[in-house]
Amino acid sequence: MADHGSTLLRVDGVSLRFGGVKALSDVTFDVRKGELFSLIGPNGAGKTSMLNCISGRYRPTEGDIEWRGENLLKHSINDRAKLGIGRTFQNLALFGHMSVLDNILVGRHHRLKNNFLTGMTYWIGGARREELNERRFVETIIDFLEIQHVRNEPAGILSYGLRKRVELARAMAIEPELILLDEPMAGMNLEEKEDMARFILALREEFAMTIMMIEHDMGVVVDLSDRVAVLDFGKVIAAGLPDEVLADEHVKKAYLGEDDEVLHALAEEQERATA
């Protein structure tokens, strides 16, 4: 298991409002270096909104996000790859007309130095050497994810399971310290899920990445995660070790939909805010 080292990412009192809708309220948690942290919760609980706050798509209305002890929110979205944050998307977001290889190479964007001038003059100015060197690294990812047979196919024509893998490959190409996985196993069959679980564990063991994952499959979450936080109605209702969290009364009720005072109060609060 991970060494549960220093805090890598710290989410502190983050709230996110869209007009009257409060997607997140006062969310606080931290992700430690080297761990596999899962964010779970019913549909519409705000999990993806939280991920979007970290990757930069949304800007929290209130609260702070710290990355390695520094303010993350002052950085633009496209700076975050360079800082070491990569992510995959719940609804596939590949570059459909590009080959799998080029998709993954886009993940190397922030590591490459050649620009449009040296790129156009390919043989002069070092672009050729750099591109070919990069290819070596990309091939290790392709080998690891077992997608050699499709590397020259356009990403858009691949099957769902393969596209999920290419997305993971592209995020890996960033060489992030923290990789955010938004439902990496949604819509997969058992075999594909097992493959993906194997890849996710190897991300940490072989590529030394810290992982923050959103996932609905409880079996997967319990088996893989070091720690879990549960979101419901935009609030953290439980956090801790997977077994402890799932034994929590509020969590059971949030998932099973039973009457629960705390959840009730949350739902009412949200309704008031909306009205």
Partner: protein
């Protein structure tokens, strides 16, 4: 875009990364392109002024269409102002040459000047997409047209300006035969440049912005920078094309660079194939040669049906329109797609896939 397989011949294995990233995918493709260049280079030996002038114009329009293809095909941004940038390049080169700088240097300098202007007019692209961007670029078309008419010092105003004849180390390129080589040089430089761009970092970034800008940004691509850069690269080639056009005619006047020209450029890349380097050349050739083919067609019809001899001009215009419509209906993905289908079918024959 439908995917068409392009299998490699049996036994053609790539054993190095370099061999897998070549400019041309197969040896035959390489020979084909070299043969094409040689044929054009030898054309002055066999053909007269008319064919040569057509080749020159196809080359010039192909360079400008290539630029638009970087913007619209690769980056997915529509521009209705490309014709004006083409015109700006023509005026800029004529103006630079009139300051005493040799035409050989004036042409690339005009490209750089047009690039700068294009990037200024591309700034709205940081915020606007799709139809809204199209309208914003329409504004650049009208602003530049107005500039051509009023900026006497630069364009000679309504009178137009004279563009010096190009010369190469004292040798005047005043004939079609000699000018063809200048255009051929720039066609090769431009097409190789954009093909190289497509296989390197910034080219991939442009396509990523087109295919999925949200995830492109997460991958570390600065959207604003690449959207504006795309306008810059596109205008550079428009400027080069315009400069070659100006020095070819020897005289530049603003009337030619209207929105009609911009739309013609769009037609070229749509018919050639959006996002395809070779498609820009095919599209330019198609749009330039189609009216002439249709004129021959109309005259042929008139000889069979003498009653319509008066109307051949109309028949020609209508046939051009009909051909374009038919083309878009039957082959919306362009000539390049048709070519790929043909290539796949004879490579795979007798199997279908």
């Amino acid at each position: 875009m439908a995917h068409v397989p392009n299998p490699r011949p049996t036994g053609d294995f790539r054993v190095s990364y370099a061999a897998d990233r070549t400019l041309f995918k197969t040896r035959n493709e390489t020979y084909f392109v070299i043969a094409g260049v040689l044929l054009v280079a030898l054309a002055p030996l066999f053909f007269g002024g008319y064919v040569l002038s057509q080749l020159i114009l196809i080359g010039i329009y192909a360079i400008a269409a290539l630029g638009l293809n970087v913007l619209t095909g690769m980056t997915g941004q529509i521009s209705l102002g490309h014709g004006a940038f083409f015109g700006f390049g023509a005026f800029a080169s004529a103006w630079i040459a009139s300051r005493g700088i040799p035409v050989m240097f004036a042409i690339p300098l005009a490209g750089v000047m047009t690039m700068a202007v294009g990037m200024v007019f591309g700034i709205p692209a940081a915020r606007l997409k799709g139809l809204y961007l199209a309208i914003a670029t329409l504004a650049s078309q009208y602003i530049l047209e107005d500039f051509f008419a009023r900026a006497d010092w630069f364009t000679g105003g309504t009178y137009g300006s004279l563009a010096e004849t190009a010369s190469f180390f004292g040798y005047q390129l005043d004939s079609d035969a000699s000018y063809l080589y200048l255009v051929l040089f720039w066609v090769i430089v431009s097409f190789v440049g954009v093909a190289n761009l497509a296989r390197t970092r910034d080219g991939r970034a442009l396509v990523a912005v087109r295919d999925h800008y949200l995830s492109a940004e997460i991958m570390g691509i600065n959207l604003t920078k690449y959207r504006i850069l795309s306008f810059g690269i596109s205008s550079f080639f428009a400027g080069i094309g315009g400069a070659l056009y100006g020095h070819y005619l020897g005289f530049v006047s603003g009337e030619g660079f209207t929105i009609l020209l911009s739309i013609e450029f769009l037609a070229m890349i749509i018919i050639g194939g959006l996002g395809s380097v070779s498609g820009s050349l095919l599209g330019a050739a198609f749009i330039l040669l189609l009216p002439q083919a249709m004129e021959i067609f109309a005259n042929a019809v008139a000889t069979v049906v003498p009653a319509i001899a008066q109307g051949t001009a109309y028949i020609k215009q209508m046939s051009v329109g009909a051909a374009i419509i038919l083309f878009l209906v039957l082959e919306p993905e362009g000539l390049v797609h048709r070519w790929r289908l043909m290539r796949a079918s004879w490579k795979l024959y007798p199997f279908s896939h």
